[in-house]
Symmetry: C2
Subunit: 875 residues, 2 copies
């Protein structure tokens, strides 16, 4: 590790993000670009790592470096730490290599003490400002660095205002604030057991340590987990000369994006507060003004800011999210970073930047996070629903989409009810980082306060989750468990619908509709398709699913589950008759009735899909799933079949299983009852021949589930081929078809070299493969899996993100062995992981030809596949 | 493949078993040793393989070779095929590389036709003999080569005897037999649709084909499956000049062993029939005479036979099983092979041969089939039971051991009832190869007819299964379903007990006892231990099991299941209280009550085991297994616990699982309720400290079940170590202990490199590993696994014999990866496969240090391990 742990801003640049953090690298970059940035220095992320190695303590060589850099800062600013004439004050901010909004803690005005406050008053000729800064500093320091509850200080402030008979902080005069500083210091001593540190250097060291410590706090860890950020990365600390937005009406502070982060529109977007310090805007304490009003208020500053934004955007080739402060009419940039945005904005910005010549198409494709597309693909409320329902309240359209659910007033309650399968909307006065888990669990988020850049809005957009913020007609009483709008009171039993695209809040359950994908999305997906060489299919069982998937660009069906067709009302009777058959003849008679229905299903699906590949899986679930449960149903069925109810009960008992996941299902049914596989093979092929007659040259793919042994699989394939030969003979025609198997049992992966010799394709069934590789039933894991994730025993839910180490080992083994004996083997995945971007990228690199996922995830999988191809090429 | 498919007897030797089959190789060896063997030739096993490639047809080059060898045979014997003066007659017998008694078909007197019979009569001056031979030939040929039901011919024979008013075959004169030959030929034509083939060469080709075909018959396939014989091996065909045991009172035929195959005693053992052909003895049609009576009847022949037996035994260095024929006072050996024997005899013979200087100890160890030891280790009736019960009948002590069960009269019934868990004794007039499956399923076999070398006796000894044969007081009526002894009639509802060591049959259920192992067995096992370097431990949970296992030579406990202790009456209440506890405090209070009981269990087991290693597994099964099922029990429990019955019902429902095999069990319990692991760790260590105080330096091994991930395992190990540290502190002493895990989930095997870094040992739980690798629940496989075995989809039941291809791949992966990060890792197996000889040998070669199995299988595992070590050294 390096000996140098501290860099002046002019020593760094934007490429040094890993070492200086995003904020530090960008401050350095802006400094070098000649943009007005208050001068300062950055303590590196390596220092953070060393801090943890030193048992959360600073060490001598770092202290020396910091001392030297402070000297530089004092020299550059011609100010001195603790001076009673012109004291140096600094801000201390965290800055990790990857932006983590709201997670890390900031301290302003550091360096103030009983002496320096006099100097500040003298220098600024503004005693009130000096003491206001001091009392803010004490409160912030106590809260952030010392983890003392800030409410203790808020109460003193409120009491002071009450005593003075005023309402606003700004109505307190400098004497009031002087008193308040004394009260704060006393309170600090009372809570902490020692006096408020007067020595600026001691303040600084405590603040640096606090930043480093905050890297390890629970909220930060959770955020990193949610966003796939490495825990080992560490955070940098930025120490920067203070500038003041709270020096009167020619001062202010704001946050703005170079484009609209919700829609992508190419227009400055943001908010500012006059006479305020930075934290006031983000925290949503006062409702800020829209950025364009600054043009009128301070035209020169506005022009300078707009030009700076453009300069930064051109330089970074991306939309910027900037923090600025105006100190007595002078603009300072405190931070810039690539702005977080909704999926809609991400696509819009990417397309616009290409059109503006700032980006090439490949880079544009890499710019959009596949996960975020999810937000674009979610349903919206139908026009009819919107027309016929009146909004009960309206807030800001903070994150687009539509969400319906019951009201939940706390993060904990939301998480709990969601884990029980309930759809909830988290309704809060305003959200804070503590609410993160509840936000993850909720369908959508509604807040009564806070703007477009409030915590709720920023985090929800990051998650692609519907959010309405600042709906000020709403009054939330968390303790009472009520939400009041006017005269009406709603509780957690009430369902509401929120529209994150319009900001409207409805009472009741509004009808939603699938998203309409057009314009930029189409353009963008066109580029995605240009660079992608892995096929993306869909899992679809019904013509309705198929249509949806085609709209989303599915290139085939990777998994058509025939059993879903078995459950249709007009068929289940024949299916049950087949299962209850005492002999082959009765069973075949029932199958004969099912045959034309299945054939028609396949015909319809093929007709919709045209010549795109369609993989049909033979019957998979245990037979008992098709039999009735209730006594009345059993009696009805027995009556319809003309048999004794006891015969039905007996058969149900016979088919009961201890571990159905590992039981009599999949191709095991086909070994025991070959006539079922034969009927299905016949339906698949006859439907395809029908299509050929229509001029659609379908090549059906017959997929046999749950094989674990080549002999077992061959037994079923022989039956299937034999039946198909019969069909060919009967019809006097032949068509091509493929026969393959799912690889979803560890032994199938291990013996893939044998299995590949008799199959045309493998489709990885990673749901079951995960269950068997982990020895973990998804149905039962609810008892302990949440605990495992909470305790970080499992880094991720293996049913969400494919476990590359264990399950991946088997997938890689199967691919390698399979190709060793059959170089033409097609390889795909049809488990739910097929729509998870990290998994798609991984499987692309493993060598799979296609991934198949639910219709809604097709664009996500496509984007992930395109990025994987580009990333591979870039390597 | 070779061009040469036929070998004269003098062209071969005993090393050519794979090519010539066992019988052919031994006939060649005997020929070369100068032992009187009727001359002939052998068609190779390669011809059998080619026969199947030729779609079950003979081919030209083979036909030519056979023609040439027949010419040689005619020249050597100075006889001609079909001659009316002195015809050449031959026997045609199968002979696979591995002996398969009763499975293959034999044809005698081939070459007889309407012409040759005249020649035979003329040459032997015995017309009656000639026609008797002819009618026997027709019947055998029809039955064996043409698969026509032999009963058709038996009926004609019976009718003829009735018409003549005689009882015995021998009472028919030559005219009767001439008539019978005509009737037989007519019947043959009627059944077959074509005339009985008159051309000797056509007869021969049909017979050769029949032998080859019989390699593929169901019985042969089943036998091979039961005896682990490769289907691809093929059988040879031996064509040999006929000699006649049915030429009058100076002729005869017999079967004898050079030592007693039941006890191993060094004394000729066997039977013969005067004036009979070979099949008569084996089929048990007439009750034969004991071999030693031959000394009186034909002293010279007896002496010659005894000398030949000794010569063969010295030559083969093993006990011989010989077939011989005496033709008019002249002895011919027709076959010799190493004799099948009981485990008792195998051990006795091996020890004796070493003592006689014929074998060295290593060879002796290789001579005993580990599987067969099973027969030695089975229980016998207690002396008290034998003293206080009178035998209802007595037969031959055909295969030792004691068996108790209900009567079953057919193989089918026996198989069915056994599969339903009933213990049955198969009771038959006599057995035939068709009964094989029933014999496998039954506890023991009882026949009314047949000697010590009858089908029942030979097969039962081969299986190590108790058998009493030839109990002639017993009258079996299969159609009526009754067994009569004197006045008493018994049905399938009656229980009988049979003693295969004394031949006694008892009515009722006699008490059995564990086997007493001493004498030769001890000597033999001493040699086994000399060459063995893999340790054999046992799976034992109770002091009683432990004592039994120590008697069998267990070298440690590889699996002590703590949950069995939880079920004891005095504990289950506390266990249930623990499970139903609403909070940690109540749970810990219940665990505090269980602690001293568990501690005492471990103390007792350690005390018995001395300083042998003891591996204790932490609680494994799902908690619902401990809760009551019935309503009354639930109410009682609720009352005892002072809670509402609904609370108990709720908890039961809560713990219910869809797939308990993949559910909330194993170390998952320890993650959720660390206090359980802590209590168990404390009990294990406190008991060990107690032992140390007694001077027994126990090093306990703590085994954590069901891990699938290193972080999960570490979580539990940390808890365990932490608790143990507390114990050490409290007791003021420290002892050594090991912590390891079971490898029973595929992912644990795959990530073994990580897991090995925090463990001292792996113990392969191949039961669960098989279930998960195959995706096959043992509890549910009953619905299809028998079908899989029947259809030969699975070669073997993977729960009986470890699947080396699939499960073995994971075991090998785990061993390799585990040792790569922890070279001191101990490796063992504690699944039920640990007592299966093939698996033990395989795992020895994979590199495991120990196998642990049920107490009764310890000697089997030891022998397998010793053989594996010797075989490895011999390579």
């Amino acid at each position: 590790m390096a000996d140098k742990f501290v860099y002046n801003f002019n020593e760094g640049n934007k490429e040094m993000r890993a070492l200086l953090g995003g904020k530090g690298a960008n401050l350095a970059e802006m400094t070098n670009l000649g943009i007005p940035v208050p001068y300062g220095f950055t303590i590196t992320t390596e220092a953070c790592t060393r801090f943890y190695q030193e048992d959360k303590a600073l060490w001598e060589s770092l202290n020396e470096e910091v001392t030297n850099h402070i000297k530089d800062l004092e020299a550059a600013n011609e100010k001195t730490f603790g001076s009673t004439e012109d004291p140096l004050l600094v801000s201390v901010r965290s800055g990790a290599p990857i932006s983590m909004p709201g997670m890390m803690d900031t301290i302003l005005n550091l360096g103030l003490n009983d002496q320096a406050v006099i100097g500040l008053a003298k220098k600024t000729d503004n005693e009130r400002f000096a003491y206001d800064s001091y009392r803010r500093f004490i409160q912030m320091f106590a809260d952030v660095a010392m983890e003392l509850d800030k409410n203790n200080f808020e109460k003193l402030l409120t009491a002071k205002k009450k005593a003075k008979g005023v309402e606003l902080d700004t109505e307190l005069d400098s004497n009031d604030l002087k008193e308040l500083v004394e009260e704060y210091k006393e309170k600090y001593k009372e809570l902490k057991g020692e006096a408020f540190p007067q020595e600026p250097r001691e303040q600084l060291d405590l603040a640096i340590s606090a930043v480093f410590r905050s890297w390890g706090n629970e909220r930060a860890i959770l955020y990193r987990k949610l966003n796939d950020i490495d825990d080992a990365m560490g955070t940098a600390v930025n120490v920067q000369t203070m500038v003041y937005g709270n020096m009167g009406d020619t001062s202010g502070t704001g946050v703005a994006f170079s484009r609209n982060p919700a829609t992508g529109e190419n227009q400055l977007f943001g908010e500012y507060l006059i006479n305020a310090q930075g934290e006031d805007v983000v925290a949503g304490v006062r409702t800020p003004q829209e950025i364009h009003t600054l043009e009128k208020a301070m035209p020169e500053v506005y022009e300078q800011f707009a030009a700076t934004a453009k300069k930064l955007e051109d330089h970074y080739q991306d939309m910027q999210d900037m923090e600025f402060t105006i100190q007595e009419g002078k603009l300072f940039l405190l931070q810039t970073r690539n702005g977080k945005r909704t999926a809609q904005a991400a696509v819009q910005v990417a397309v616009d930047l290409v059109n503006e010549g700032l980006l090439d198409k490949k880079e544009a494709v890499l710019r959009v996070n596949p996960k975020d597309l999810d937000g674009l693909l979610h349903p919206t409320f139908t026009n009819k629903a919107k027309d016929t329902n009146e909004a009960a309240a309206t807030g800001l359209a903070a994150s687009p989409g539509a969400a319906v659910g019951k009201i939940s007033f706390t993060a904990k309650d939301a998480a709990k009810r969601a884990s029980e399968g309930e759809a909830v909307i988290l309704v809060r006065e305003e959200t804070s980082p503590e609410d993160l888990e509840g936000m993850v669990s909720a369908q959508g988020i509604l807040t009564a306060r806070g703007g477009m850049t409030s915590h709720a809005a920023v985090v929800a957009r990051g998650m692609g989750k519907c959010c309405v913020s600042g709906a000020s007609d709403i009054h939330v009483d968390e303790d009472e468990g009520t939400m009041r709008i006017g005269e009406n009171i709603y509780t957690k039993e009430d369902t509401i619908s929120i529209d994150g695209s319009t900001g409207k809040v409805y009472i009741g359950n509004l009808e939603t509709q699938s998203p309409q994908l057009e314009g930029n999305f189409e353009t963008f997906m066109g580029w995605v398709d240009e660079y992608r060489d892995m096929k993306i299919r869909t899992n679809a069982d019904t013509p309705r699913d198929v249509k949806q998937a085609l709209e989303f660009g599915a290139e085939g069906i990777g998994l058509c589950r025939t059993e879903h067709m078995f459950f249709k009302e007009d068929r289940i009777f024949q299916v049950r008759k087949m299962i209850l058959a005492a002999d082959l003849e009765t069973r075949e008679a029932a199958l004969d009735k099912i045959l034309p229905m299945q054939e028609d299903d396949f015909y319809q699906i093929y007709s919709l899909m045209g010549e795109r590949p369609v993989t049909v899986r033979l019957l998979d679930p245990p037979l008992h799933e098709f039999l009735p449960r209730g006594e009345a149903e059993i009696k009805d069925l027995a009556h319809d079949l003309g048999i004794e109810p006891n015969r039905v009960r007996e058969r149900i008992a016979e088919l009961q299983e201890v571990n159905p996941m590992l039981g009599f299902r999949g191709l095991r049914l086909g070994v025991r009852y070959p006539e079922i596989s034969r009927m299905q093979a016949r339906a698949i092929i006859q439907a395809a021949i029908h299509c050929h007659e229509d001029g659609i040259k379908v090549i059906p793919e017959i997929m046999i589930p749950l094989s674990n042994d080549v002999h077992e699989l061959k037994y079923v394939i022989d039956e299937v081929n034999d039946e198909i030969e019969k069909v060919f003979e009967e019809k006097g025609t032949k068509i091509d078809y493929l026969v393959g198997t799912m690889i979803e049992i560890p032994r199938a992966a291990i013996t893939a070299d044998e299995i590949a010799q008799i199959t045309d394709f493998f489709s990885f069934g990673t749901n079951d493969l995960t269950q068997m590789t982990f020895g973990l039933s998804r149905d039962d894991a609810g008892k302990f899996l949440p605990l495992y994730l909470e305790k970080e025993i499992y880094e991720k839910d293996p049913f969400q993100v494919l476990d590359q180490k264990g399950v991946g080992f088997l997938v890689e083994t199967a691919v390698e062995k399979g190709l060793s004996t059959n170089k033409d083997l097609h390889l795909g995945i049809c488990g739910e992981h097929g729509g998870e971007p990290n998994t798609v990228k991984y499987l692309y690199n493993v060598g799979l030809d296609y991934a198949s996922c639910s219709p809604f995830r097709v664009p996500i999988a496509k984007l992930a596949a395109a990025q994987a191809a580009i990333e591979k090429e870039n390597k």
